[in-house]
């Protein structure tokens, strides 16, 4: 039997392809009714929320700077993490701990170009002497 998690995943995938979302939802509800599977709706919704949150988190770029960045700097960092002109949520903040430079997280990858990171690397190298 298909689990509610699998149904939620397929639903999420197919919903991206369709143009008429209301028709898509109607068809889905009809399917559940015909198979007497209405009871799984709460569970499917729960999984849909999880999938959506994960997707959103993954596609949101978080960029932290050591000090207040200029628009030009933000643009350069966006280009570096291959964000370009993509329609992606970007959260920019200032984290003084970084001392300088930036740390960006996007699509499951961390880009560390901060002074804090360089000092950490230097510390490692010097400890090897």
């Amino acid at each position: 039997m298909i689990s509610s998690k699998q149904i939620a995943k397929e639903l999420f995938k197919e919903s991206k392809k369709t143009n008429d979302l209301s028709l898509f939802v109607d068809n889905f509800m009809q399917y559940l009714k015909s198979k007497k599977l209405e009871y799984i709706i709460p569970s499917v919704l729960k999984h849909l929320e999880i999938i959506e949150k994960r997707e959103k988190d993954l596609l949101t770029a978080k960029i932290s700077f050591g000090k207040e960045p200029t628009d030009e700097t933000v643009k350069m960092v966006k280009n570096h993490i291959k964000l370009g002109e993509k329609d992606t949520d970007v959260v920019v903040d200032v984290e003084k701990d970084l001392i300088g430079g930036f740390v960006a997280e996007y699509n499951g990858v961390i880009y560390d170009g901060s002074l804090k990171g360089y000092i950490r690397g230097l510390e490692k190298a010097l400890l090897q002497i």
Partner: protein, 505 residues
């Protein structure tokens, strides 16, 4: 150039050679955590058994990826699981679970990841070995022909162990399983054998006692103790035998012979069951996962004797299994029995009767050790195993019968004398040459006129007599066995008897 100048120069070199480019690292996030297991989202490039670092507020926590699922990765956390929170950052290390190895481990006590826990100096990580190495192939192996003496007369005489063999020590709790293993380690002194003792799920007090004993007897010089105590996570218990075997393989690569004691694999299986159930792997018989056989077979297959072309060296494995109420047909005992090249079965009944080591000769066997036994021992102890097994059977029947024929009586009498002779105190291994003389003496009827309770004392007297006046016989029996040597032994025994009679007069 002064020291300060050299230091400044080196620091400048390091700064100039440092990489100041932007570091890219694949990361994941902890989605769920509990009972030492975490589910991590992200990390699409993660490999099975890859080491991961979970960043927490206090420190970085080590974990290993075990389950690669469609959406998440099931990871087991080694220590500090309580620090991990939902949302914690997880970094890849691009390194399959590996442990440091080296000669400096000798004499040390380490945890399951071979980090020293004895308060001694830090061990340099010069070389690392993958924890789950594949066992040497068929063409790299050689038959077991070199003996590994345990110093326990009952074992060396009847259930001999060879270098590269896997011999299971099995029995209920409190039957002396660990004692047999420790005695074997003690007997390796001066034999150029490296010993590794792995305590899995043992009490720390017990491990500490063992370490003290090994130190006292001077055995720590050639021994490494790896401890995953019962207070540590299941992941530590799971990984301990594998990492210790990786260290054994390092020594084998140095052409050395290694003895590894896994104490015990029942607790190892229980730790793996705990982990598997938490990782939601389907449970099978006794709730163990389906691959519990493979868990132990892949570990014990790494014990072997390697041929010279492939580097030589050997790993002898002594796994320990604890049975419940003597049930050797339970799941894990039958699995390990079928994997190993024989077993030493210890029995509670014998133990409480005072027969220690409490070896049940009928159920114990060494499938390959016979070819590793030295010639003299093979000659003198060849029939002893069968005689003793028959004696135990007869002994049970004799309890119901009052009149026995002369041959049965003789068999019973000889059996009791052999049993008495094979009793041996803990931590007192006997050199094989002395064992041969004792076994020859009892089998040839030289102790027939000695009262059973005096057998051990008489044997001690015999050995000290021979040490004083006939020590060349000990060397002779080590090099072979022929009529000449036998007549020398006979003469020595007669001399002892004569001296004893004169003393009694």
């Amino acid at each position: 150039m002064s020291n300060a100048d050299i230091l400044i120069k080196k620091i400048k070199e390091k700064i100039n050679s440092s990489d100041f480019s932007i570091e890219e690292q694949e990361v994941g996030r902890v989605v769920e955590v509990g009972d030492g297991i975490a589910r991590v989202s992200g990390l699409p490039q993660c490999s099975a058994m890859e080491m991961l670092v979970i960043e927490t507020e206090q420190k970085s926590v080590f974990a290993v990826a075990l389950n690669l699922e469609e959406d998440t990765i099931g990871v087991v956390i080694f220590d500090g699981a309580h620090l991990v929170k939902e949302g914690s950052l997880v970094k890849k290390t691009n390194e399959i679970l590996s442990v440091p190895v080296g000669d400096e481990f000798l004499g040390r006590v380490t945890d399951a990841l071979l980090r020293p826990i004895d308060g001694g100096s830090k061990i340099d990580e010069k070389e690392k070995y993958i924890v789950e190495r594949v066992a040497p192939g068929v063409m790299k192996r050689e038959p077991v022909t070199v003996p590994l003496q345990t110093g326990i007369m009952a074992i060396d005489g009847m259930i001999p162990i060879g270098r590269g063999q896997r011999e299971l020590i099995i029995g209920d709790r409190q039957t002396g399983k660990t004692a047999v293993a420790i005695d074997t380690i003690l007997n390796q002194k001066g034999q150029n054998i490296v010993c590794i003792y792995i305590a899995i799920g043992q009490k720390r007090s017990k491990v500490s006692r063992i370490v003290e004993k090994l130190k006292k007897e001077g055995a720590m010089e050639y021994t490494v103790v790896v401890s995953a105590s019962s207070s540590e996570s299941a992941a530590m218990s799971y990984v301990a035998p594998y990492s210790a075997t990786a260290l054994a393989e390092y020594y084998m690569d140095q052409k050395k012979d290694v003895l590894v004691v896994y104490d015990d694999l029942s607790k190892h299986a229980v730790a793996y069951r705990e982990m598997s159930l938490l990782l939601r792997r389907p449970p099978g018989r006794e709730a163990y996962p389906g691959d519990v056989f493979y868990l132990h077979s892949r570990l014990l297959e790494r014990a072997c004797r390697r041929n010279e072309e492939s580097g030589g060296g050997s790993i002898t494995a002594l796994p320990v299994i604890e049975t419940q109420a003597g049930d050797v047909s339970a799941y894990i005992p039958t699995n390990v029995i079928s994997i190993t090249d024989g077993q030493i079965f210890l029995e509670s009944n014998l133990f409480f009767k005072g027969i220690r080591p409490a070896i049940n000769v009928g159920l114990s066997v060494s499938r390959v050790g016979g070819s590793a036994q030295i010639k003299a021992m093979k000659k003198v102890a060849g029939k002893m195993k069968l005689d003793l097994a028959q004696f135990r059977e007869l002994e049970a029947f004799a309890q119901f019968s009052s009149d026995l024929d002369a041959s049965t009586k003789k068999q019973l009498d000889r059996g009791s004398r052999i049993t008495e002779l094979l009793k041996q105190s803990q931590y007192s291994p006997i050199p094989v040459s002395k064992q041969i003389i004792s076994i020859y003496a009892v089998n040839a009827g030289h102790f027939d006129d000695v009262a059973i309770e005096n057998i051990r004392k008489t044997n001690d007297n015999l050995i000290s007599y021979m040490e004083k006046s006939q020590s060349h016989v000990f060397d002779a029996v080590l090099n072979g066995w022929d009529e000449k040597i036998e007549s020398e032994v006979k003469t020595a025994l007669e001399g002892f008897k004569k001296q004893k009679t004169e003393e009694e007069k």
